[in-house]
């Protein structure tokens, strides 16, 4: 009787001890379990941080939160593609599974990156609806249901950073804010109350590092885990900013 060999999963993980130190690779081999995903494998390594050569090492650092692909925290580069590790099922991945951080962002440690720049971008483009006041402003204008459903697709953005990682124009020599924040401008400009601050947002993305930096490689829309029509948003904003620049220059109105 043939001896049944236990099925294993092999990981090649890019590691980095501090933000400034050089990255190195460590290989791990785990026993296969059904329905494993990258996060459960990382947890397994954390329980027993021993490399394939038998060397005991430090547990791997990574970010995670919701574990159902809505928070965006666990994004990393898996077999060359940026995606969420919670929905990266081992059964669907080619081995060895190569994990590395999204190096478009500053690496904190191992697979952990600092996505602060994305949140700064949201502030820069005023990705909110200002409703605060000293008295009750009353109900805002109604939003047609059809438009709400359309806008819902844009609101699925979880600031995960995959589109920035995929974009050839987001890198250390450019200050492009990237597709996600731009698409949020379209979302908030489409809202009946948000529309009242339309020109503020358009003028913000017409600044340096803004919309004009898009080079139309369209990697973002192909990579977005939420299927957000990012390039359609960018093209629509191109049209809006064209008109806004005419308004600004010829001064037809202030909104």
């Amino acid at each position: 009787m043939a001896e049944t060999k236990t099925k294993t999963v092999r990981f090649e993980i890019s590691r980095q001890d501090t933000p400034d130190s050089a990255p190195y690779t460590e290989t791990f081999e785990l026993e296969y379990r059904p329905n494993m995903n990258v996060i459960s494998a990382l947890m397994e390594i954390r329980r027993n941080p021993v490399t394939v050569d038998g060397k005991t090492t430090t547990p791997i650092a990574w970010d995670m939160n919701c574990l159902e692909e809505v928070c965006g925290a666990c994004s990393m580069v898996i077999n060359g593609k940026p995606r969420q590790s919670c929905t990266a099922l081992i059964d669907q991945l080619e081995q060895p599974i190569r994990l590395s951080p999204m190096r478009t962002f500053p690496v904190v440690r191992d697979l952990q990156v600092d996505r602060s720049r994305m949140f700064d971008s949201l502030k820069k483009v005023k990705a909110w609806i200002p409703i605060d006041g000293t008295y009750n402003l009353g109900p805002g204008p109604r939003m047609p249901e059809k438009k709400r459903q359309w806008a819902y697709e844009l609101s699925k953005c979880m600031t995960c950073g995959v589109c920035l990682e995929a974009c050839p124009n987001v890198n250390s020599s450019s200050d492009f804010i990237g597709p996600s924040a731009l698409s949020q401008v379209r979302l908030f400009n489409a809202h009946p109350t948000g529309e009242m601050n339309r020109s503020d947002r358009l003028n913000a993305i017409m600044g340096d590092g803004g919309l004009a930096n898009c080079g139309n490689s369209q990697n973002c829309v192909q990579s977005c885990p939420k299927g957000i029509p990012l390039t359609t948003s960018i093209a629509a904003l191109n049209r809006d900013t064209t008109l806004q620049s005419f308004r600004n220059f010829f001064g037809s109105d202030q909104v």
Partner: protein, 202 residues
Amino acid sequence: MAQNREFGNRRLHSLLGVVPIGLFLIFHLTVNYMATKGADTFNAAVHLIEFTPIKIVVEFVVIYLPLIFHAVYGIYIAFTAKNNLGRFSFFRNWMFFLQRASGIITLIFLIWHVYTTRIQAALGAEVNFDMMATIFSSPFMIAFYIVGLISTVFHFANGLWSFSVSWGLTVSPKSQKVMTYITLVIFLVLSYIGLRAIFAFV
């Protein structure tokens, strides 16, 4: 000081590529095509252009200044990109890369092309059928011109696609797809016109 210029610069870069540079390219290729009707027809067309009023001013305003801005800013754009075809081999990402590569190739070609024709003319040489025939007597030059032509025409055709996105003309994925086919036809037609002209001198 020079803050918030990027939007204006990028839009100007996009516009200049089509008007006037793109229009001049079509005009230039059309005149070249006269060579397929014989040396006399070509020489007649060249003479006609030589009588353009205030020619040197027109050349600067319509060709040199827009081209220099487009080239210098284009080099900056090309070298701030970090190409990632290895990881993302999508069609549009290829076009993104080829647009930048063809821009650089076209610039090298144009510098050589302007040096051997317009600058020689300024130094006293006569631009006519024979001048081109002499250039094309070398097989290397034929190959160099073919690469230069294809690269230029590609850069124009694909640039027209990004122009229509950058100015917000084609917003929906469907319109962008249709524009891909339209610009493909423009690429093929202009390449045919240009190649016919090159081989008319050989």
